[in-house]
Symmetry: C2
Subunit: 381 residues, 2 copies
């Protein structure tokens, strides 16, 4: 395991990271061209070239989000920073938030919203289930909140939550809708505009297959109007969208020192998607998902989530009787350098979380994984 050698001074020499095959919920496998992009020289955060890159990144993000929202940009933080951006800008003390909860990341939205002063009402279901259009509409009509939040792709359970009815009902009562698209963006149709989602955030290290570090965010004109009507300033300065948008898109007035390196990586990830086409990339993830499910069922295993409600690029497989999931994961990592994840919360010990994303979303990528996974279960039995 140890690839670090201490120097005489007790410190260490250069990084020699092990080559992993990242079949977990993220970070996902990074395309070689993205590493090359990060070798490009750093330019200043106010350099004209940086703003060219930034503008192209914003354009590419609009495509993958499926939106024409002008305010679409990356936040200089990981996906959870994107979540705090969405929450902190659209919640102020006393804002009534209706939250759909059936997994870990919905709970996290609630935790952040509480810190930003929200009055929260919740509709709950067991982890692994999704909400029907009727449940969505009834809850929103009954509660008449100012903001509705839900998780489109719940990384803790593998559920993809449809949201057309939710967004319609929200707009009917004058609410805006926040969606967590951390796992879906780049691998599944997110369709911000078609669904009617107002605010969405994601990350760079799952469906986009770039390294972690930035969080794409998009904001509808309706949400932007709300932002301008806030009575109190955002409790967070770092995540204040009006300052960030002014820096990245408008006056280019300094806000923070954005990382050219991470922008290059995201730029290259978006260029790769553009070359393949978003539609074909999404289809590729669907095909890999179907092949994975067929293979898993052939091994006698079962999926946690009902068909039609599954995230394509993150599969949750029930741990069968007699299998020690921690041992299987350790075997895969140590023997084959393959990373997968287990469940947590109420699903701890009960599921494997297996990502088939980016460069690994191929026939070979699926078949290679299934063979090693089968071996791991047998060897650790």
């Amino acid at each position: 395991m140890s690839n670090l050698t201490e120097t005489a001074a007790g410190f260490r020499i250069s990084v020699h990271a092990p080559k992993r095959l990242l079949y977990g919920p993220g970070p996902s496998q990074v395309h070689p061209r993205i590493y090359q992009a990060m070798a490009q020289p750093v330019v200043g955060h106010l350099d004209p070239y940086f703003f060219q890159i930034s503008q192209q990144v914003q354009k590419g993000l609009r495509t993958v989000f499926g939106t024409v929202n002008e305010l679409t940009l990356p936040i200089s933080a990981t996906g959870s920073g994107g979540m705090e951006t969405a929450v902190s800008n659209f919640i102020e003390p006393g804002t009534k938030l209706a939250l759909f909860v059936s997994g870990f990341f919905a709970e996290r939205i609630g935790e952040m919203a509480r810190r930003h002063g929200a009055e929260i009402v919740r509709l709950e279901k067991p982890w692994g289930e999704s909400f029907t259009p009727e449940e969505q509409v009834d809850f929103i009509r009954r509660e008449r909140p100012q903001v509705v939040a839900f998780v489109q792709a719940e990384t803790s359970t593998g559920v993809f939550q449809r949201s057309r009815a939710l967004c319609e009902a929200a707009h009917e009562v004058g609410a805006i809708v926040i969606a967590d698209c951390v796992t879906s963006l780049g691998a599944m149709p997110v369709n911000i505009d078609e669904n009617g989602i107002d605010v969405a955030y994601s990350c760079t290290q799952k469906g986009l297959s770039a390294p972690p570090g930035l969080s794409p965010v998009t904001v509808s004109p309706l949400a932007l109007e709300r932002l301008k009507q806030r009575k109190s300033p955002n409790r967070s300065w770092y995540f204040d969208l009006s300052l960030i948008a002014d820096y990245l898109s408008e006056s280019h007035r300094y806000h923070h020192t954005a990382s050219a390196t991470l922008f290059y990586a995201l730029h290259e990830a978006l260029a790769l998607i553009d070359e393949e086409s978003l539609d074909l990339r999404q289809q590729r993830h669907k095909i890999a998902h179907d092949r994975f499910v067929t293979g898993i069922e052939r091994l006698g295993l079962k999926m946690l989530v009902a068909p039609g409600q599954r995230i394509w690029n993150l599969n949750t497989v029930l741990v069968p009787e007699g299998v020690n999931e921690a041992k299987v994961r350790a075997y895969l990592l140590e023997k084959h350098g393959i990373e997968i994840a287990g469940g947590f919360g109420p699903l701890a010990g009960k599921i494997f979380r297996i990502g088939i994303m980016g460069p690994l979303a191929s026939d070979d990528g699926v078949d290679r994984f299934l063979a090693k996974f089968d071996e791991a279960m047998k060897e650790t039995a």
Copy 2:
């Protein structure tokens, strides 16, 4: 300027960034070995190898901060995110903050502290000046605050603020001290423990010469005690130090998806410092600074800041009569790919901000810059 070519689909091809010489206040020039480190394969944020790297990074940061603080780690955001980490964890509604203000970044601390509920008292001086030990002590004894904040290296003015008396007075009245070390860390002696600073934050892209994206933070046992005594939760979830420390240092319980790539870069930056030795690196910056000042004065120019109060790695030079500073900067960037910065706020149009840091802090680095700078002033006259 345009290095981006649009594809038929209206998008663009791979990144081909121009090679800049970064003589601004940051980002600074990145060492080639750091680019190599970022080409190392991404591993998961819960991978045992990631925690090895993280542990070494924490060790290296203790050295450059000059501290034995156990809680010393990088935040997954830029330097301003480090500032919000310091402010949000140690300010809660009603906390009395004594703030020393003589530049832009002190104002920013105030702006953040206000959003986190502080009652702020300020001691102000014109931009470019520093506070004497007597002024520090008088202010703190008079105000008896719970938290004192100051900027050790004020990037907007070039002033290095000494703080031994400040810290003693603060502890005398039971306050903890927050210091902004964004520009000093890695290039000047920060000496957290020797000075008695309780909480400090920095960035990766100035004195450490890595790309932007992480923010090193250190917290004394006294400050940690205060953190545990908070009456209300941190208004920010993303910057909540107790959660971050638990993830990076203690239980390794998931908080956010840290960027292996940025940790590799920081690790390599710290390894380079270890190889050179921190003392020699700091001396190298001092020698380059002295050579720069001599050269500037030989050109007939003057420094904004009085001798003995200057940041070694960030020089602020007064714009002489008849020189158009914006034209000089544009000439340097367009003709020689050299980035420097101007002043802002009350110093807009009045100073150049010139960083001599990292790989550029050498005789050659200084002489090459001075020749081009002289040329630029003559050519744009």
